[in-house]
Symmetry: C2
Subunit: 354 residues, 2 copies
């Protein structure tokens, strides 16, 4: 899933150069890192990228190892459920037994070996139980920026995997306020919802049929024309009418056969500049400096130049993100408010900066 | 006097576009404001601008009312004494009784009417006493960024002007440390040294002859060729050998017949971004915002865009000065340290940003 904009990473992330195509953390761009950490388990020719039509060229350039036919364009963003449904029909046509691993293109994972191990176990569970499996992250702080998953102590059918951290899902919880997040953390049976899912393609489509019958019908209409001349036209017409809905809300919260794997491989959705600073390797002044930066008496700050020199004097806990046509200067801890700037630009129709 | 760079106003002030040619405070550029506030007392054709050769074109463009022959180029900056000596010889050649008003090109003055009144009185004193007159500013805070002038209670020859705030100078003091500045403020007989001087051209040249005989000789050598073909060559050769020295150190501290006028017309040398913020008209959040700026929960800050959008979130007491190729982000109260950035650029020979 690679169709988002990542607007909280403005001014670097834009519609035309979204977060997943940028160098934010690690060696490559976020999508390059995402594909690389699947190797050799899932080779590039079995990676399907679903993204916005306007971003397809960027992915082609950045990951030439992925076959052209694996780049799937959505004409409009319609949240995660349509994206996943479309991908499932494509995989199912290629292989009626297809196992499907759904991953966002813009996450950071520290321990890749452990990540792959959990993915393999998830595939085993999805196959054995013919169910829906998701990865839950053991929380280490009362984060209000993530959704949560509560697991139950039921062991029905997963007895032999219980010690491996496989759990039956009890409920999904939206992003909580701080007191609720603190309660979740203390309770010990809540995990962060990573947005990563594992299931057989045929199984998830059956769930769509049951819980999202309209969307299922729309997706089948599209997939029936896959490879035909009429495909682009049908895709666009049908997508235009699709109501946006997330996979969590549309399917996961309603389905019965849902499992979660407790994971502890170091994970982040890199959802804000504060988070980026938190994940980065700081210098002796606890600064994270990128590019052409001069500091004087400056500490605990994240400064990212983009070609121009940045001189910082006497700063503490400040985030500075430069770009050719817009600059962000933000107190650390306030970077969620970047969304307000993006909202302002949308209201004012300053599209060149979006 | 218009030859400086104003490096503490980096990154806006540069060798190629120095402070005096920029819009920093008020309606026009600093030199335009300086010339405008002399009208109608000193018409443009009687204003002589002495500046660095590299800046001459800028002045010609900005103040077309000043005759070409009144723009005097120094090949190198040699501090204030050579600049003033050169100007004095030029004025003396035009009028043996010339009264000379020496003004820096980059100051801010609030009450222009009062300023002109003090200048007129200064001219009267300079003529009556055949002495050196300077304007001293009544201090309102223990500023460490200015030099000070201590006056004496002697009234020799100025009895009838004593009530007008004319004083005999006792001593000049360099920029003090804070305890010293506080003592100066309490004592009541110290004024800020504004760097503005009034005297007859013939008198100041006599003082040069007495206290700076080498410099006097060098200046006469130049002025003897004024208008000749050999002038540019002699000017350059002679200037190259001139030792830089200020008028304060070279003449004022040594001369005997020195007077100071107590002045209270609202004055600043606009020497730093902190000072610029201090002088500016703030909005309800005590921000001073220029250009394309969006603020969220930001107070007591000075943000100056230069075409690009600046988004500020959660900031308090921050100065942000943008330019096409360099950005300054500085805690308020620390803008004197901008000099360190400029020094760094000089050391690293990053001349494009100087």
């Amino acid at each position: 899933m690679a169709g988002g904009v990542g607007s909280r990473l403005w001014p670097r992330s834009r519609a035309a150069s979204p977060k997943q195509l940028l160098h934010i953390m690690g060696e490559g761009t976020m999508i390059q890192n995402t594909v690389a950490r699947l190797q050799p388990m899932i080779p590039p020719d079995r990676v399907l990228i679903v993204t916005n039509a306007s971003q397809i060229d960027g992915f082609r350039d950045q990951i030439p190892s992925i076959p052209q036919e694996n780049l799937v364009a959505e004409p409009f963003g319609r949240n995660t459920a349509p994206c996943i449904g479309l991908a499932a029909t494509i995989l199912l046509e290629r292989d009626p037994d297809a196992m499907m691993v759904v991953l966002p293109a813009d996450h950071w994972i520290e321990n890749v070996h452990e990540f792959q191990n959990r993915l393999k176990l998830a595939c085993t569970i999805a196959e054995e139980r013919k169910g829906l499996v998701t990865l839950g992250i053991t929380p280490n702080r009362p984060e209000t920026g993530y959704g949560y998953i509560q697991w139950s102590e039921k062991k029905d059918g997963i007895e032999k995997h219980y010690d491996e951290g496989v759990r039956v899902v009890r409920t999904f919880a939206e992003k909580p306020d701080l007191p609720t997040a603190e309660r979740f953390l203390r309770s010990g049976d809540f995990l962060w919802n990573s947005g990563m899912f594992i299931w057989r393609a045929d199984i998830i489509l059956k769930e769509f049929e049951e819980h999202l019958p309209d969307l299922h019908e729309q997706i089948c209409k599209i997939s029936n024309t896959y490879g035909d001349d009429s495909y682009p036209n049908i895709l666009e017409k049908t997508y235009r009418r699709i109501t946006p809905i997330s996979i969590d809300y549309g399917v996961m919260e309603k389905a019965k056969n849902v499992y979660v794997l407790q994971c502890d491989f170091g994970w982040s959705d890199v959802g804000s500049w504060d988070e980026t600073y938190r994940l980065s390797r700081k210098d002796n002044e606890m600064n994270f400096l990128l590019g052409d930066v001069v500091t004087i008496e400056t500490n605990n700050s994240f400064i990212r130049s983009d070609g121009r020199l940045i001189a910082a004097i006497g700063l503490e806990d400040v985030i500075i993100i430069d770009s050719p046509d817009a600059l962000l200067v933000c107190k650390r801890g306030e970077s969620q408010q970047v969304q307000k700037v993006v909202d302002y630009l949308r209201r004012k129709k300053i599209t060149s900066l979006l």
